[in-house]
């Protein structure tokens, strides 16, 4: 167990190192990315430029610059933005992380529950209009762009029907920390959650249905029926339980991606200051410290989520347990 943890830790460090080097090199290879000119301001004299370059260490060799940046990011945690001078990057991420975490987690709960229900129902009523209806609904959910859906949701709940009994409870856009008011947190996030979940409900529902249909042809499903079990039990305890293995591996990837800032569009539409939005901001300003910090953050979560998926795997699939 300890060895496995250590190995995982080593892998994480290696991944982080690789990604950070890549981000760093790509940044300095990008034309027009030279941060000196930005920091020095427009029409700065060559002397100012040289001074800035020296102050920020841009005149030093790249490995040294890299090491300095990593030190500032991870050890002293005083890495400052190149664009907003004096703005520290690490606290910015720490402030944005709970927003994204809340958004992704809530959305994930909704999409897992809804897609499992949807996929299972469709498989149980395979070939009927229930199946077809659910699958078409899933396809529509996949096809709707999340920013459009978000805007429409806002239009309905914030403007058009905000004064009716149905949506008068919807608070304004923005984020309310859970620690401040759990109810407020829930109210402000429930619509973003649903909007974020719609796409995934469609994908997961369809994937699960296909998986269940494939599993239903397996020998062990026939055995389960030959045992005299009820169709519901055969489908849920034998079929769904086995299909969960695929479901979880898919989920791990998507969830990690969202935590790492993949919910950008939802965050923007609903005015949530999350990591996705921060990353977007950093990229549009070519702000290396912020890019580096958000990429590192997201990489940590991807690796972490993969580790969690691996652990869940071990619980779900006894064959994996012996394989390691």
């Amino acid at each position: 167990m300890a060895a496995a943890l250590l190995r995982r830790l080593g892998q994480t460090l290696f991944v982080l190192f690789g990604i950070s080097v890549l981000v760093f090199l790509v940044f300095f290879a990008t034309p027009g990315a030279d941060p000196t000119a930005r920091i020095a301001g427009k029409n700065a004299s060559p002397e100012t430029m040289a001074k800035v370059r020296h102050e920020y260490g841009f005149d030093r060799p790249l490995p040294v610059q890299y090491a300095t940046m990593m030190k500032k990011l991870f050890i002293t945690r005083d890495l400052a933005s190149y664009v907003d001078r004096g703005e520290l990057v690490v606290p910015e991420i720490i402030e944005a992380a709970p927003v994204t975490l809340s958004l992704a987690t809530g959305g994930a709960v909704i999409w897992v529950l809804a897609s499992v229900t949807m996929g299972t129902l469709a498989a149980a009523f395979r070939g009927t209009w229930i199946d077809r209806g659910l699958m078409i609904a899933g396809l529509i959910g996949i096809s709707i762009p999340v920013f459009w859906l978000g805007q429409v949701a806002n239009l309905i709940t914030q403007a058009r029907y905000h004064d009716t009994w149905l949506f008068s409870w919807v608070p304004g856009l923005g984020y309310v920390p859970f620690t401040e008011s759990p109810i407020g947190w829930f109210k402000v996030l429930i619509i973003p959650w649903i909007v974020l979940a719609v796409l995934f409900i469609g994908i997961y529902g369809r994937v699960l249905r296909a998986d269940l249909v494939a599993v239903s042809g397996e020998d062990f499903m026939r055995t389960a029926r030959a045992k005299g079990l009820s169709p519901a039990r055969v489908l849920l305890r034998h079929g769904l339980r086995t299909s969960m293995i695929t479901f979880v591996s898919l989920f791990g990837l998507d969830f990690a991606q969202l935590i790492g800032g993949g919910a950008l569009l939802t965050e923007v539409v609903f005015g949530l200051q999350g990591v996705g939005r921060l990353t977007y901001q950093a990229l549009s300003n070519l702000d290396l410290p912020l890019i580096m910090a958000s990429v590192m953050y997201s990489a940590v979560f991807v690796v972490l989520a993969n580790a969690v998926v691996d652990v869940i795997y071990v619980f779900l699939d006894p064959r994996v347990r012996d394989g390691r």
Binding site: R222, T223, A226, K227, G228, D317, P318
Partner: protein, 336 residues
């Protein structure tokens, strides 16, 4: 109930699948009976309809477009057309099934014991502990070493032979009157095969079960069965007591099948006789005898469907005996 009455009596069972607007007959007018404590073998090559027959009796065929006609009486109860709910009460409790490949027949994510417990508790009001103790006892009876520990193992952790023993234990868990074994030894190696067949033979003494043994292996039949039914291309070729059929097969197909078993005594044949060609696909079945295209004795009268006729102790779907030209008795005695 009369002790002589058969446990299972199948009459004129036909199964057809709908494919591309046509009904494809898979099984045609198959009739047989399994007596109490009897082992009936159903023999045939792949696609002869033996598994479909078994699945139909179990009510496990529910693909759209399947048409089943005829009758299958289990202790006087009609199984064909029985509502699924009632069938479910029989399945696993009165009629149990063992499958060909024990590798894939268990759900991979549960322990063997869990799966046997599940079947017991689906049919009987038993607590977890009681079900488990029966599971362990059954596994022990089936010759599984250290049954308590084995019950807690997952299917992939067991060898093929052990898995098949566990499968049989599961099938026997509710003391079924009829056990349908669909090629139970095909996926196993030969020594394990013999052990499993031994086990199946002892079942009728220990558990009083009748067995319907489906196989494509004449050797398995010879070792295990009381009576045998040979299917060819979805139709009965020959049916009768095992000894009689092995001593003097009445249908050229049966004779050819028996000839293809290597003899245990006498000179070693250079090449084993084989049956040239392949059985016809269901849609291209001849109107007459389905075996005619591959038969050495084909003549004019074979173009009409031969009825099943009594000849000696056997029922034979061939015109030869009636025409006074029965198959000669076999020269080589089969190894007893």
């Amino acid at each position: 109930m009369d002790a002589e009455a058969p446990i299972l009596e199948v009459r004129d069972l036909s199964v057809s699948f709908r494919s591309q607007g046509r009904d494809v007959p898979i099984v045609e007018n198959v009739s047989f009976a399994v007596g109490a404590r009897e082992i009936l073998g159903i023999v045939g090559e792949s696609g002869s309809g033996k598994s479909v027959t078994a699945m139909t009796i179990m009510g496990l065929i529910d693909a759209p477009g399947v048409r089943v006609t005829g009758s299958a009486l289990f202790r006087g109860q009609e199984l064909i057309g029985m509502p699924q709910k009632a069938l479910r009460r029989l399945r696993g409790r009165k009629i149990a099934m063992i499958f060909q490949d024990p590798m894939t027949a268990f759900t991979p994510v549960y322990t063997i014991g869990w799966q046997i417990d599940e079947q017991i508790r689906a049919h009987e009001k038993l607590g977890k502990a009681e079900a488990r103790s029966r599971t362990v006892r059954l596994l022990g009876d089936m010759g599984v070493p250290d049954p308590e520990r084995t019950a807690n193992r997952y299917p992939h952790q067991l060898s093929g032979g052990l898995r098949q023993r566990a499968m049989i234990a599961m099938a026997l868990s509710c003391n079924p009157a009829l056990l349908i074994a669909d090629e139970p030894t095909t996926a196993l190696d030969v020594t394990v095969q013999a052990q499993i067949l031994d086990l199946i033979r002892t079942l009728r003494a220990d558990y009083g079960s009748s067995v319907l043994l489906i196989t494509h292996d004449m050797g398995v039949v010879a070792e295990t069965c009381d009576r045998v039914m040979v299917l060819y291309s979805g139709r009965i070729a020959e049916r009768g007591p095992c000894d009689a059929i092995f001593a003097h097969p009445g249908h050229p197909y049966t004779a050819a099948l028996l000839d293809s078993i290597p003899p245990l005594t006498g000179p070693r044949p250079e090449r084993l006789p084989s049956i040239a060609g392949a059985p016809p696909p269901p849609l291209e079945r001849p109107v007459g005898c389905a075996f005619a295209p591959r038969c050495h004795f084909t003549h004019d009268t074979c173009h009409a469907l031969p009825p099943l006729q009594r000849y000696g102790q056997q029922d034979i779907a061939c015109v030869l005996p009636k025409e006074g030209r029965p198959m000669p008795p076999r020269v080589t005695e089969y190894a007893q």
